[in-house]
Symmetry: C2
Subunit: 258 residues, 2 copies
DNA sequence: CGCCTATTTGATCTGATTCAAACAATGTGG
DNA sequence: CCACATTGTTTGAATCAGATCAAATAGGCG
């Protein structure tokens, strides 16, 4: 646990915000100089919990976390979003005093915390940073809505394909993709909680995706073997991610020959 | 179709924003004086469509509309939100140039349009109005996430109960409830598209809710007979609506005697 | 090696869909 | 004001995608 004024963690934060909304030099510097409180958090810990009234927000430096909510008393969990480096999972708490969902780590994470007062001051000084942050929360909402479409109107096969398309593009956008592969430290149980399915069913359907040679998924690494096929299987249209830099996707064979 | 500078439609708009985020006199006046383009739109028309790049946003003066998205080619529709008077269904287009969902009317509606340029100018002059609008989009996202929990992890009985609880509180918050009744001009088909169910199943489960004396629902009027029971059936917790004025709910009998 | 957690497979069950048809409502033109 | 068309609701029967229960297998790791 340490206070970091050096901005050594800022580049990713800056890159993420600039990727959402173009920023001037001065604005980027303002972001880079934010005083941040960096912590390492181990797996399966809550960063904030439903009902909390945080006085700070966080952004993810490293690792995987998720937004989730429990339904009923019997342990049904719905994961509403997976968060990767660069994300601001509880930015909403800047405007909405009480959290209506929890954020929990999936593996070990490095998280940077910023006080709301500091953030508000930065926005006052650089209104366009406020726009970038607003925009970030809007994309977050757009992702939830797309998931709603999936859970409501797509079958398990399409849902899994869609999730993998999304995660790949989001991770690629912040430089976390390696060719057509991403690190995906999720258990099938976690995927099932995100897609409204049972673990058993995720297992079986994932096997079908493998059998159709669309993906390879083992030991926390997901490789997309046929982007076009996976995209079609998931009825995936990336518009809702509102990416500024267009996705770079290719057949695995193309990448190898490049 | 008419240009309205008188602010005769503004009160609801102002009331809604003030109910999200307290506003000063000057701010309220700024909102009330917004030049707005008011139109009557008949049933089942799109106000904006997925892929559009609107240069204005709208707020609902009268009627019911919905945010929706089509999945696949075979007519599967997922409704992601029902919008009532006071709502700003496509405010997002102020920050996100391209619409990733459509907004359509359900019955006849009265809609007021405001140019983005005008809105941006207002926010520049009154930053706290910007906060109110940001907050509105955040609540919108919170509602989508709650629906995701329902569709992913609750059965049909709970989903319908939950939807009715939500609609009742949201409409009550803007003065559209009459005791424990609201006008609910939705077909069972529309409800099924919102909950990820089939029309037939919505019909059967709604009958069970009626049989359990939780609701009365006929000819576009929904009455909640037992709030506590409906809330429990839907696992409903209103936190996610982030209402400022606390909900006023009571058993129907209490209201009659009042 | 032994423990714990994750994945896989098989068998069975069920909430919800689909298909089909009857039955209100509501509205429309004559 | 009624015949007719249209749209929405209700009921029944057959079927299915996905859940649940149970147990075996495979990794990862101190």
């Amino acid at each position: 646990m340490s206070w970091d004024h050096s901005g050594s963690n800022a580049p990713l934060f800056v890159r993420k915000l600039a990727s959402i909304h173009p920023l001037t030099e001065a604005e980027q510097q303002g972001v880079a100089e934010l005083p941040m409180h960096v912590r390492e958090i181990r797996a399966d810990q809550d960063i904030v919990r439903e009902g909390d009234k945080p006085s700070r927000s966080c952004f993810m430096v490293e690792g995987f976390a998720c937004r989730y909510k429990m339904a009923g008393e019997d342990g049904r969990r719905q994961i509403m979003q997976f968060h990767v480096a660069g994300d601001l999972p509880d930015l909403m708490s800047l405007l909405l005093p009480v959290m209506d969902n929890s954020i929990g780590t999936l593996g070990a994470c490095k998280i940077a915390f910023v006080d709301h007062t500091v953030l508000r001051e930065l926005i006052r000084k650089h209104p366009r940073i406020g726009d970038a942050l607003w925009r970030d929360t809007l994309v977050d909402g757009a992702v939830s809505r797309e998931w709603l479409v999936g859970v409501g109107r797509r079958d398990a096969y399409a849902r899994i394909a869609h999730l993998f398309c999304e995660l790949f593009l989001r991770m690629q956008a912040v430089g976390l993709a390696d060719g057509m592969s991403i690190s995906l430290p999720l258990t099938q149980g976690e995927v099932s909680d995100a897609l409204g399915l049972s673990t058993v069913h995720v297992n079986r359907v994932a096997q079908t995706l493998r059998a159709n040679d669309l993906i390879t998924w083992k030991r926390s690494v997901l490789t997309i073997n046929h982007w076009d096929g996976l995209q079609k299987a998931g009825e995936f249209d990336p518009t809702y991610l509102h990416l500024i830099t267009p996705p770079r996707v290719a057949a695995a064979s193309d990448l190898r020959s490049a």
